[in-house]
């Protein structure tokens, strides 16, 4: 189990940031990802592996019209 924005999310072996965003259907383009507080650049999403127990923050930077 991992935390995504402080909520529980099922973990599986080989889960990457890209995989997590796809599972959650986080399609918004303008987001910031931090894993255990460390920033993950967009170019690294596919290779950034998430470990069991990690705390992932996916901040959507959208604040309406």
């Amino acid at each position: 189990m991992i935390k995504v924005n402080t909520r529980d999310h099922a973990w599986h072996e080989g889960l990457t940031v890209r995989g997590l965003l796809d599972e959650e259907q986080f399609i918004f383009r303008h987001i910031i990802v931090r894993v255990n507080g460390e920033y993950v650049a967009e170019d690294d999403y596919a290779k950034a592996v998430i470990a069991d127990g990690d705390d992932v923050m996916v901040l959507h930077l959208i604040a309406g019209g």
Binding site: N5, Q25, F28, Y39, L61, G64, G65
Partner: protein, 710 residues
């Protein structure tokens, strides 16, 4: 065509550090004109823009004033940063009046050239009071120092004809048209309460007028009630330092850096330059936030038909600068050129349609069950030219359609109009009926609050159900976000000063998706900071979009990326560089807090503004119907388990809906308590005298109002 009724000459004030230091009062009843001094007191307490509007309005009206009382004023002001050309979004006009929808002050804002050109003509604000006997056009020539009143009866009513005619009439030649800006409304504004104001700017590439709208709260209705056909300003000579700023070099430096951000990052971030605010339609659909069929659900499988790419690929002209004021590189005012109208009095004409903005696609599209881009653009055009606030219209007609869906009213009650979800022809026909003042078109524009009363009293509809599904608060219709899973945004809409418009606070992702503000205190902090911060745009004449619809590449490194700290600092630095003052980011919020609390007290003075008016309809908070509950069954059942310790397997659907409702309404009460505490108000929503003293809004007349309610 014109007959001059009166002419007044004046010496245009030269701007200094962002202010003309003069304001213009016009009474259209007797065509009197008064030049007023803008005092240091006004600048200190109210800054400008919306602040000046509210201060003048306060002094013009009494607690007994109604929207159609002669003393009600329409007040307009650009703000001290208005008419800059170095930074994006510096061309807003802020407008205020006592609203026909709500009975309290409404404030609304628009791009276009009017506000900046008014200021450059020597006026920090414009008050319009009284009522004319016949239609009048007010023309201000800021170069010649002339204010002229002309008869307006002979001009067409609808904006796309009226503004073109007036631009042609008042411009000295073709090249001069960019120096002319018109404020007007349309033929539907006199039938109902949701008439809006169009603000023109001339597009020399398309050779036509373009329009932005101060749409909320019935400002256009008031304009027509005063028989003001239009306001026109002409000013030639916009320069890079028209404001005579204190520190031009700083403004230039900040502007250059900002424009580079826009150039480098917009395509990766929100694509404002390509599609404008409608870029979020599919995002809202995915995150269950796109209001669909009167906010019943947050999306629909058909939404792809009205996706941003559909408009970009098939309708919107690309590659032409679309800024609504000089220097705005965000350039988000998109439009569809050569659009062929298929209905109404202008069927067969090809026109330029400004938009669609997000609210248009969501409101006139999904919320009415219409997933047809052609129809949305045609609705958009007719709302604009007829002078209809499309948000109030869309949310209002979504309510009517659900009343039909649930058998609360019949087609016969609507004079034969088949207002079922998805019927675009009926929606367009209703707009034409509103323009003509016929049938249901005579009352459709009164707004949900009054329609509820009519449906209950005359058609026997269920009052409780209508109160649940009618998406209005304080008499104003909600803007287009299905926010029932965000407690913070429920407050962000219903705990506003003027009614549920999202320009005060938009916290849905921060709350619902990012989960950044989980506690009541966190939400209360957000419902203090963001409304105060965003109010400041309205004090200064700024557009909100450049704040956070583009952010610096390294914004992620900051502790508070949602605040976009670098851009906040830009605003502090630009304010100081224009005015020569020395504020910091805390004083920026404090400037807003003074005006925000003043507006709250203004509501009290008008007999409103307490806790009992800050409650949302239940549709805003949770599932009203069985279908809504079932559409999010696992979410709602999960919440019964996790938050209330109940076993949904042992409950009927009605019991689950009832328990969910009781829980959510209790959450909202707790949120109100926390927000009122954070804002320095009593638990009845009244600003405390000590708080007013602390923020510097302890004017005797303000304290006098407050003390009656403690």
């Amino acid at each position: 065509m014109e007959t001059t009724l009166k002419e007044y000459t004046y010496t245009p004030a030269k701007l200094h550090r962002g202010y003309a230091n003069k304001s213009l009062y016009i009474n259209v009843g007797d065509l009197s004109v008064i030049e007023k001094e803008v005092t240091e007191f006004m600048k200190e307490k109210f800054v400008g823009g919306k602040g000046f509007d509210l201060w003048y309005l306060w002094n013009a009206v009494t607690p007994e004033t109604k929207w159609d009382s002669p003393e009600n004023e329409i007040v307009m002001s650009a703000g001290p940063l208005g008419a800059l050309t170095q930074y994006s979004g510096t061309g807003k006009t802020l407008v205020a009046a006592i609203s026909p929808m709500t009975g309290i002050p409404i404030d609304s804002n628009a791009g276009g050239y009017f506000g900046p050109l008014l200021k450059l003509s020597g006026w920090d604000a414009l008050e319009l009071q009284g009522k004319a006997e016949k239609d009048v056009v007010i023309f201000i020539d800021g170069n010649k120092g002339v204010i002229r009143f002309e008869e307006g009866e002979e001009y067409p009513e609808d904006t796309h004809l009226l503004a073109e005619a007036l631009t042609e009439h008042f411009a000295e030649d073709e090249a001069d048209k960019v120096n002319v800006a018109v404020v007007c409304t349309g033929s539907a504004a006199k039938h109902g309460y949701m008439g809006m104001l169009n603000f023109s700017f001339y597009d020399p590439r398309r050779k036509t007028c373009r329009y932005k709208q101060a749409a909320r709260g019935g400002l256009g209705t008031i304009l027509r009630d005063k028989k003001i056909k239009a306001l026109v300003v002409r000013f030639k000579g916009v320069t890079g330092n028209s404001n005579d700023v204190a520190d031009l070099a700083t403004i230039n430096k900040i502007g250059i850096k900002y424009h580079k951000e826009m150039h480098d990052l917009d395509e990766k971030q929100n694509r404002m330059r390509t599609i404008g605010t409608a870029n979020t339609v599919m995002v809202m659909n995915r995150y269950d936030l796109l209001p669909t069929r009167n906010f019943q659900t947050g999306g629909d499988p058909e939404t792809y038909r009205i996706a941003p790419e559909v408009f970009v690929n098939h309708f919107l002209t690309q590659g032409i600068h679309d800024g609504c004021w000089y220097g705005c590189t965000m350039s988000c005012a998109k439009c569809a050129d050569n659009f062929l109208l298929t209905s109404g009095p202008y069927a067969g004409s090809r026109v330029t349609v400004d938009g669609p903005e997000y609210e248009c696609v969501a409101g006139l599209g999904s919320n009415l069950g219409i997933f047809d881009p052609q129809a949305i653009l045609e609705e958009n055009f007719y709302c604009d030219t007829y002078g209809i606030d499309l948000i109030s219209f869309a949310t209002g007609m979504a309510f009517v359609m659900e009343c039909v869906q649930r058998g609360q009213i019949t087609r016969e009650n609507l004079g034969g109009l088949d207002l079922r979800f998805g019927n675009k022809d009926a929606v367009l026909e209703l707009m034409h009926m509103m323009s003509r003042g016929e049938g249901f078109g005579k009352i459709a524009g009164l707004g949900i609050r009054r329609l509820k009363k009519i449906f209950v009293e005359e058609f026997g509809a269920d009052e409780k159900l209508l109160n649940d599904i009618g998406m209005e608060n304080k008499g104003l219709e909600y803007s287009e976000y299905c926010h029932k899973e965000s407690l913070a945004q429920q407050g962000g809409f219903a705990m506003t000063n003027k009614g549920p418009q999202h320009d005060e606070a938009w916290l849905i992702f921060m709350d619902m998706v990012n989960n950044q503000i989980p506690t009541f205190e966190d939400k209360a902090y957000a419902l203090h900071y963001y409304p105060m911060f965003r109010t400041w745009f309205g004090l200064c004449g700024l557009c909100k979009l450049p704040w956070n619809d583009i952010v610096p590449a390294d914004n992620y490194k900051t502790d508070t990326p949602a605040k976009v700290p670098e851009h906040v600092q830009n605003y502090v630095d630009i304010f100081n560089a224009v005015t020569g003052k020395s504020i910091d980011k805390e004083e920026l919020v404090r400037q807003s807090e003074r005006v925000y609390n003043f507006q709250r007290v203004f509501n009290l003075r008008m007999g409103h503004g307490k806790r009992n008016e800050d409650y949302p309809p239940y549709r805003s908070c949770g599932p009203v119907s069985a279908e809504e509950y079932l559409s999010r069954l696992s979410l709602y059942d999960g919440q019964l388990r996790e938050k209330q310790g109940l076993d949904p397997e042992k409950m009927s659907l009605d019991e689950k809906i009832a328990k969910t409702r009781a829980y959510r309404l209790d959450q909202y009460e707790q949120l109100m308590d926390a927000v009122y505490r954070r804002r320095g108000w009593t638990m009845d929503g009244v600003p405390l005298p000590e708080h007013l003293r602390e923020i510097g809004m302890d004017l005797p007349e303000v304290l006098e109002v407050v003390e009656k309610h403690l």
